[in-house]
Amino acid sequence: MPILMKPAALWAILAAVVLVAIYLFRRQAKEVEVSSLMFFARFRHNAEGGSRLARPQAPLVLLLEIIILSLLVVAAANPKAVTGEKLVPMVVILDDSMSMAVNEPDSPRNAAAEYLQTQVFSRPECRFTLIRTGIQPEIIGRHDMTGIEAGRVIEEWRCRAPDADLLKAIAYAGENFTEKHGVLVVSDRDHERSSDSAIRWLAFGRKLDNLAVTAASRYSTGNQDRCYFAFTSFASGSTALAAEIILPDKNEILERVTATLRPGESRRVRVMVKDQNLRVQARILNDPVAYDNEAWLLPVKPEPVSVELRSVPEFLKHNVARAISASGLATIVASAAQLIVSDGPVADLPDNVWQLVFRIASQPVAFAGNVAVDKAHPLTAGLPGVRAAWAVDQSYLPPGKPLMSVGTMPLIAVAGMPTQNISVFFNLAPDFSDLHKTVLWPTLFWNLLAWRQKYNDGPDAFNYRSGNEITLTLPEGSNKAQMLDSDGKLFDSAVAYGRQAVFTASTPGFYEIGSAARAWKIAVNLCSASESDLRHAVSFVPPHVPFPESSMQQFSEVRWWFILPALLLICLHQYLTSRRPADVFF
């Protein structure tokens, strides 16, 4: 049964309606009786047979024309069907991680590509589907390509991913292809043991001693930034490390790092950067394997959250202001705030404005006992276990989801959506509590402000480890964002879900992500111990690839199934409608 590759062409069958209309219209001809039709011989279309056959001939011709039209329409829809040709289907999984590009041009990637071209893609009976495997597997080219097509498509295999999840790719192949497909995995690592005989593993790796920057982070401590780097040895023996941490914008060395590292040992370095607007770079100076020898940390400049203290009792106001100030994440403003702190719910809260509501009881009661905390929530995550006196209004039942409660009495509850409005309810009588004297108080505020800050316009961070997700909160009114590489070329684009767009930091480098008129620079560092560790790289290349015994039937174009009968019917049509020899004796 043929499958139509372009079923939209079937709309052309509507032409049959026009054909029928033409026939109906033609049947409206005026009837004129003549003595004989013999002198109209040249114009005769009906075959001999007299009046009994003349009438059904027009519908017969019409029927023929409709059949011809239908056959041609089906042919135009590019029908394909299973034909007798037997082909061997192969899925080739390509490790797209950066370790495959080590030591260009003698890289595992180039060796693998050459092997595939000569040993695999040269098999005419095979059809190939290429899966490039980085963080996520993705098919490059189309399904079931010929060797020549696959040889062209393999140029898109560039090995720029921070990791290659080959198991996920194998699972993907198992789910999406039939058991007839042989699976060929091309990597630089030792092959995964599998009982599935359909999976063949080719490894082109080479063991190398390597030093790598395996961690890099930067955060603000108020008036200066703290930077953290980790240098790790992936050598087979003790190796000397020579590295430096510099401010490239000022061409100033912050710290030189020299050490002798045992296999697998890391050297962690922390430096303080006073000028928070400068970039920081860590680089290893004595390692020939270059792709993991440096890391960049860009300035961390989140916008502070603006907080308005509205109708808060003086005592509470003082403690709230202190906690906000201590967080370093917010500034107190008189109006147009992103977070409103008050002793009662604010009516008509504008979009993207959050509120922290204190329910101050006039007749509070005190509870003693264990407190239940939702530690998965960003507001209550990481709260330390301390004792505190917490007086509440027993009659108050705050709306939303309780995050902290004692017995059945909610202490903290949250309602709303982060991308719109969040209302945080504190059931707290401050005069009768000592919460503000405990470490819980600044922690809760820091959590709240950090949570709110995540929903300010811009990325959730400025320095990423490759493979991480980059979450960008879009400016008001914008619904898409784009990611440009260091050359200004479009690297990725994303459509907003709510107010946020998500990218994947796949390839190390500098990027600019922006939306509407705003843009932010970010850095993506490799920082992948598994990708830097080349001690487990192996080479396993059989002289001949054992191809699977199984085969599949090829779907071939079968237009001729329809065009040929159409041509025959056209001949029959022509025969029926052509003039017959004249009866006149001249």
């Binding site: 033609r26 409206q28 001809a29 005026k30 009837e31 004129v32 009786e33 003549v34 003595s35 004989s36 039709l37 013999m38 002198f39 109209f40 011989a41 040249r42 114009f43 005769r44 279309h45 009906n46 007299g50 009046s51 003349a54 009438r55 004249a582 009866d583 006149v584 004796f585 001249f586």
Partner: protein, 292 residues
């Protein structure tokens, strides 16, 4: 149906009284008859003497004259003829074409021929040609009373004439009145009709619509005989081709008639019904005006 043509039939008969069928020279050599012919023959009425010529009947040698003049002299007598006319009528549907006077003209012409033949002392047999050639019995009755005299045959007249020929009287004059719109080789038809005939006249009777059809636009042409249909968009090309085909058809019939010793005449129904004078027959002296 024919009764509706009574007026035309009467008029044709009246006009026919002015003419007679002039084909007596064709009956030379016949033995006996009820009328004298134009030539010498075997009757008892003496005409003249003349010198013997090789081939003369030795029974007519005037032995007395020979004894007197010593010259071989023969007696000449007037010939005696018994003329007969067979009128072959094409009774196919095309002779009764809708919205034309073809059928009326056909029977008017037959009426006229009957009268002119009788004026010349002929006996007349009319034949209706359908699937068989059937004589109208008795031929002397008025045409309006002829039985089964409708032009309703849908078959091939030519085929009937060849396969089922009429048993015609030998040495008679035969006139076929038809539009000749049938597909059969004329030679065969003419051979069948002219066999043992004193004379054969092919009279093609057409309507003006046959000669010059007024066709225009999107038409479904219906063959009057076969009811076969043809859809055309009539334009000048089609009409020109039609005229050309018909002219060639008629010319071919003329040519075959000449070869067979037959005379080909034609008549347009509408013209004939205006004055009931078959011009072509007069031109060819088949009909002659009677002296008053």
């Amino acid at each position: 149906m024919i009764s509706s043509y009574k007026k035309s039939l009467d008029a044709a008969e009246i006009v026919g009284q002015k003419f007679f069928l002039n084909v007596s020279s064709r009956f030379a050599g016949q033995q006996g008859g009820s009328r004298f012919g134009q030539n010498t023959g075997n009757s008892l009425e003496f005409v003249d003497h003349r010198e013997y010529q090789p081939g003369d009947d030795v029974r007519h040698i005037d032995w007395n004259a020979m004894a007197r003049s010593d010259r071989l002299t023969v007696k000449l007598y007037r010939e005696e003829v018994a003329p007969h006319l067979d009128i072959m009528i094409d009774a196919s549907r095309s002779m009764n074409l809708r919205d034309t006077t073809k059928c009326e003209a056909l029977f008017s012409l037959v009426a006229l021929l009957r009268v002119v033949a009788v004026n010349a002392g002929y006996t007349v047999t009319a034949w209706l040609i359908k699937d068989r050639c059937r004589p109208v019995e008795p031929s002397a009755v008025p045409i309006t009373e002829w039985r089964d005299a409708d032009c309703d045959y849908s078959g091939n007249i030519g085929e009937t004439l060849v396969r089922f020929p009429a048993v015609l009287r030998p040495s008679g004059v035969r006139i076929l009145v038809s539009d000749l719109f049938w597909s059969h080789e004329p030679q065969a038809v003419l051979r069948s009709l002219s066999d043992n005939a004193a004379m054969l006249v092919i009279m093609q009777l057409l309507s003006e619509r046959d000669l010059k059809p007024e066709l225009a636009g999107n038409l479904r042409l219906v063959d009057a005989e076969t009811r076969e249909m043809l859809e055309i968009v009539a334009d000048a090309d089609i009409l020109r081709d039609y005229q050309s085909n018909m002219t060639r058809h008629r010319d071919y019939w003329k040519k075959c008639s000449t070869r067979s010793g037959a005379l080909f005449c034609s008549c347009v129904a509408e013209s004939f019904l205006r004055d009931f004078i078959p011009v072509d027959l007069l031109k060819n002296e088949i009909l002659m005006a009677r002296s008053r």
